[in-house]
Symmetry: C2
Subunit: 331 residues, 2 copies
């Protein structure tokens, strides 16, 4: 498997890997990856992607991607020889998994390389919103402190009921961190996790009713799309806080904006959005909202690890060895 095209090249030629749009990890570690593979760069061509793929990618067996360059059914149709999709992300909602399954195309992600870092930012966003760090910083930088002595009080984390939506790798790490801060942690997940001490709720609505904050850590699937809707936000209530380090579309973003603007919920810490890199402008004027540029996984250490996992999968594939981090089940 995977060696036909490689065999036709002289042995000094590295195998070919298509990049339609450079993943952030690739942008940072291009040199390292390019030393190992011949990168076919669709994004460097003046041609529309479809035309480029038709002209140059008919023998391509492996593609490297992330959320900024979706591997749709259309793209897959343009790549008849494709056998492997390597994603530099954990979530693979940007890949048409059904089509890949149908065609026998293997998909790899980077598993939980990012999960500690994402959990750290989830906790950072919760502390920031509850304790007004970004707001306090703006207050000081704006020269307000010598004028108004007391910046508005924040809210204590200890003793607060925090509901985690999705207790996978990231959610579990968020739970451990918040437990150490004295929070009362509960969760909802596809199934109850017997190995955790945290209270399970059968659905997000009941969790929201009984929580001071929700931390979204689940994958984006058909089941979780717009799971956080108006009803859930109303259940969370006027003091309730939402932190989203999952995917933007887990929340009905238009409703979120409305609830924040109208004060129906207490605040939000957001790393992800429905139409990245576009963030609803209505949020920019709100002191109780912290917005990040989908950077919860963006550390030097993680990007290095992710590049190594991606390269490892590509090397394994071209050497006919087992993939390191294949996605074997429905995600």
């Amino acid at each position: 498997m995977g060696s036909q095209h490689h065999d036709r090249c002289p042995s000094s030629q590295p195998p070919q890997v298509l990049v339609i749009r450079p993943p952030p990890v690739f942008a940072v570690h291009e040199q390292y990856i390019s030393n190992k593979f011949h990168i076919l760069k669709a994004y460097d061509s003046p041609l529309p992607t479809h035309d480029f793929l038709q002209a140059n990618a008919q023998f391509v067996k492996a593609v490297l991607c992330s959320g900024n360059g979706p591997i749709t059914a259309d793209v897959l149709r343009d790549l008849p020889a494709l056998q492997l999709v390597v994603s530099t992300t954990t979530g693979v909602n940007h890949i048409d998994m059904a089509e890949c399954r149908k065609r026998g195309i293997k998909v790899t992600n980077i598993q939980d390389v990012f999960s500690d870092d994402v959990a750290d930012v989830a906790v950072g966003l919760l502390i920031d919103v509850m304790r007004r760090i970004t707001g306090g910083h703006k207050f000081v930088r704006g020269g307000c402190w010598p004028v108004t002595e007391q910046y508005p009080l924040g809210s204590k984390l200890g003793g607060k009921k925090i509901g985690i939506v999705g207790l996978g790798n990231i959610g579990s790490k968020v739970a451990t961190r918040l437990y150490a801060m004295g929070c009362i942690v509960s969760y909802t997940s596809r199934q109850i996790k017997d190995s955790t001490p945290f209270t399970f709720y059968p659905n997000v609505l009941q969790l929201a009713l009984d929580s001071d904050a929700l931390i979204l850590c689940c994958a984006l699937t058909n089941d979780t799309r717009h799971m956080i809707n108006n009803k859930v936000m109303m259940a969370l209530g006027k003091k309730g806080i939402i932190v989203n380090v999952a995917r933007g579309a887990v929340i009905d973003e238009a409703e979120l904006v409305k609830c924040l603007v109208e004060g129906e919920i207490g605040g939000a810490g957001l790393d992800v959005y429905e139409n990245e890199p576009n963030v609803p402008k209505e949020l920019f004027g709100l002191d109780n909202v912290v917005v990040l540029p989908h950077s919860s996984a963006c550390t030097n250490e993680c990007f290095q690890d992710a590049a190594e996992v991606a390269v490892g999968n590509l090397e394994a594939f071209f050497a006919n060895k087992p993939l390191i981090t294949p996605i074997t089940n429905d995600f």
Copy 2:
């Protein structure tokens, strides 16, 4: 003890408590405290403090204060009948303790009411600086994301060596939180703490040499004033981060500004300053510095608790009962 002046009033008159400058806790809970005591407000008078005290406070037995209104030797001289200083803070570096001891004046603080909240903000500041939360927020709000896709990478917390300066109530709570995030925690303190699993360093210089970040959680004393000097910052190094939730003067602030501006250390998260509410303006242009308005203890829950402890001490004093949170040792 403490009933002479009270006894001269009709029993319906609440005992008198002097407030020279309103502590933030008092400002928020004035109603609750004023319901229990007759508050003599020096700050409401057009007279200079000295004249006001001479004219109105010669029989005052109890004063309520915080860091914004120091109880100096001069103030103490103006209060010949004083028997009790109630501070709404944990640190009492704003009170001339030597003079109080000499005169037999009792001092109360609020012990560790604030320590969980301060520890949360210490962790929040560390996450913020290392993971660029405030910077990322500014990047998104400034509309930069659709233009520049990748915000500069941050630094992973897991595996980092974090040195805690002062492993008291707050320091211990910071340690627990960072341990849950996978950090390698060490500390320096007046004495080694046998009950902790963390590595002890005999002095701050050695700790700095071996740490990626320092978190300052110690009291301000003659021994700790300007403890974080140029030498310590150089030992911490160009990637090193300083978080200060202790007191501003624990750092040589002029040196700190210089080291930050010249890139001799990697960043800082600051809640406290040498001359509050004034913050060095040179810090305002630096993306690797987060500045808060001494708000690490500022939550609704804490202020409520602190008001209750302060009132409890005053009530105990006027009822000739033992104080709830007296400071018995040198601090």
